[in-house]
């Protein structure tokens, strides 16, 4: 048997002229090097518990685009070590239902498994429309945020599938992201009535899959856009219109985004200013609508420290304002369930100012803001100011 194999292979190579088997070897090499990749084996590790003194601390993670399981694990370890109890994590519909009724939960399973093992609570943010659910509009390609009314039922079905699959692990679901911005509504005029219809369908579908689930409406973006603007609608008017359209029975909590912009955390709120306490104005609308029993989840917040973006502050200010925001929330807003910082880490740099919202670099370098939040959450004292006074001529 062995001899006959050797004879056969000798005959085969004799048949091929020298350049022939050189070509064959090169082809085999190219095929193998482009198609074969080592299987990544990542140990889940021991189940962990978050050590924290501030359970409101939460971060928005972006693990849906993380290719390596070890990086998903490392990110979530760092979240836990920072003292955050909760993550907001995006579960894009386009990723997990690439064809109608064809689900691929591989990435979602990885994220949920590791988050659970690190002892972290997950708030699932839902959005991004698969190709099959958003045909071209007026002959032009639509963006991933374009959800036609005809696909609302499909979106709700996806929400139900997600809720059912992770019935033990995920209780909180945010329906869509920043529906009061035209960009997030597929470059169409924003439409509170349509959003309420989407909310209603999603609420029923999720509750049908998990009666214990909590549906979060929003998450509304802070913006000064007036009625009729092509860019969006300010969140106060949007929320009022949501209540007018009968949204109240279809959400258990309101998700809001509350960025500090260039102002300190305790700067007074005002309808024409974008600052951290602006969300008090939204809260008042909930109170006016007899909906004060519902909590608010601040699912995105923070300051940016890009050197030139007009919405940014200096890194030292970012650090001080962020900690003050946590302290202010804990002391003054009993209705605020979580304060989630945008964003923990991007899998790859965007090479633009959004990179300066993160706490950890794509290479897992921990920024000073990470350590500051860790000190706050875990009740640690790290000591003196970390920068020098301005230099003066001697």
């Amino acid at each position: 048997m062995f001899n006959s194999f050797r004879q056969m292979s000798r005959r085969f190579f004799k048949l091929l002229p020298r350049p022939g088997w050189l070509l064959l070897l090169i082809t085999v090499y190219i095929v193998l090097s482009t198609t074969w990749s080592p299987v990544e084996y990542v140990e889940l590790g021991e189940a962990q518990i978050v050590q924290t003194t501030k359970p409101q601390v939460c971060v928005h993670t972006l693990l849906e685009n993380e290719v390596h399981e070890r990086k998903i694990k490392r990110s979530l370890e760092l979240v836990r070590e920072m003292g955050a109890t909760t993550i907001v994590q995006f579960f894009p519909w386009a990723y997990f239902e690439p064809s109608d009724d064809q689900y691929n939960w591989t990435q979602a399973d990885l994220i949920v498994r590791h988050a659970k093992n690190q002892g972290l609570r997950i708030i699932a943010r839902l959005g991004l429309v698969p190709d099959w659910a958003r045909p071209a509009s007026d002959g032009r390609a639509t963006t991933l945020n374009y959800l036609p009314e005809a696909s609302f039922d499909d979106f709700a079905e996806y929400a139900a599938q997600l809720a059912a699959r992770y019935i033990e692990e995920i209780r909180h679901f945010i329906i869509w992201n920043e529906p009061n911005l035209s960009f997030e509504w597929g470059y169409r005029p924003v439409d509170p009535a349509a959003y309420v219809r989407l909310l209603q369908l999603s609420y029923r579908a999720i509750k049908g899959a998990n009666s214990q689930a909590l549906v979060l409406a929003g998450a509304l973006a802070p913006t000064n856009e007036a009625q009729g603007s092509s860019a969006g609608l300010n969140e106060m008017d949007f929320l009022r219109q949501m209540y007018r359209r009968g949204a109240a029975p279809y959400f258990d909590a309101l998700a809001v985004h509350s960025y500090g912009s260039t102002e300190p955390a305790d700067a007074e709120p005002s309808p024409d200013r974008l600052n951290f306490r602006r969300l008090e104005l939204l809260r008042q609308i909930m109170v006016d609508a007899d909906d004060a029993a519902k909590p608010v989840f601040i699912t995105e917040s923070g300051w940016n420290d890009h050197p030139r973006w007009t919405g940014a502050v200096r890194p030292s200010q970012r650090l001080q304002y962020t900690i003050k925001a946590f302290e202010f929330t804990a002391a003054n807003w009993s209705w605020a369930e979580q304060l989630c910082i945008w964003a923990f880490r991007y899998p790859a740099p965007l090479n633009a100012y959004p990179d300066n919202f993160t706490l950890v670099s794509p290479e897992f370098d921990l920024k000073p803001i990470y350590y500051a939040i860790q000190d706050y959450a875990r009740g640690w004292e790290r000591g003196a100011t970390q920068w020098l006074p301005p230099p003066v001529a001697s």
Binding site: S316, L350, A352
Partner: protein
């Protein structure tokens, strides 16, 4: 003719034919078609006018280095121009969906986007610079060992300095709240070197025109114009215009006006 020789000849012929086909496909590409590149009859430019001095918005109009550059490119192509002010998160969507024709918005070349986007040659490099007094240059990064290096706390420079220390020798760190303080520290001879980005240094040097420095790039951060990958006419027109502006000194003049 033996078998090996005929095979070699066949292979050579195949390579020759492929090369001819490739070259002819390039050569038959005529001049770029303006109407195809910009079907609205104007160049519609997406810009995030929130990153001065590259682009700002005073409520009436957008202005800045990127705006002047866009206007110069439009003048070179001989088409009118329209600006659409879009937040960063919507820029690439607007390009891909055809809302705008090109993006000029202090955008760094991103390899990950190259399936959808084709970038022009770069027009500015905002990388981090190691800055030293002109009369006390530091010839190599090993020469930084033990030197006093100023930088902005928590910034890109802070992170880069950590990388440098990992790869070379530790330095004496002088962190400040502002990058301008880091340059003050160098100018006042408290520091031996400072790390700041190119924009910061150029803006600072406008205030202290008599202060001369030596500098070298530690990192690269090239800014380029983005076009849709499937609109090669737009890319050829815009990249060609940018090349001409580089060549005739107009680009340098625009940069010097803002930085």
């Amino acid at each position: 003719m033996n078998k090996r020789l005929s095979l070699a000849l066949l292979l050579s012929l195949a390579v020759f034919l492929v090369s001819v086909l490739f070259l002819s496909s390039i050569m038959k590409e005529g001049p770029p078609d303006k109407a195809k590149a910009f079907p609205r009859g104007a160049i519609v430019v997406g810009v995030d006018a929130a990153v001065p001095p590259f682009a700002s918005d005073d409520g009436q109009a957008v202005y800045g280095l990127d705006i002047d550059l866009a206007n110069a490119i439009a003048a070179h192509i001989d088409l009118p121009i329209q600006f659409v002010n879009i937040g960063y998160y919507g820029l690439y969507d607007a390009l891909i969906s055809g809302e705008v024709d090109i993006l000029i918005s202090a955008l760094r070349v991103e390899e990950a986007r190259m399936d959808d986007v084709r970038y022009t040659r770069h027009y500015f490099d905002n990388g981090l610079l190691l800055v030293t007094p002109v009369d006390k240059p530091i010839p190599s990064l090993d020469g930084l060992a033990g030197q006093k290096v100023s930088y902005e706390f928590g910034s890109r420079a802070d992170a880069e300095l950590r990388v440098l220390e990992d790869e070379h020798e530790p330095v004496t760190r002088l962190p400040y709240e502002l990058p301008t303080y880091a340059l003050d520290s160098l100018r006042l001879a408290h520091a031996d070197a400072a790390i700041v980005d190119a924009t910061t240094l150029r803006l600072y040097q406008r205030r202290f025109a008599n202060w001369s420095t030596a500098q070298r790039y530690l990192t690269r951060d090239p800014y380029a114009i983005a076009t849709r990958h499937d609109n090669s006419d737009a890319w050829r027109l815009v990249d060609g215009a940018l090349a001409a502006l580089k060549e005739n000194g107009e680009l340098d003049r625009i940069i010097a006006m803002w930085l």
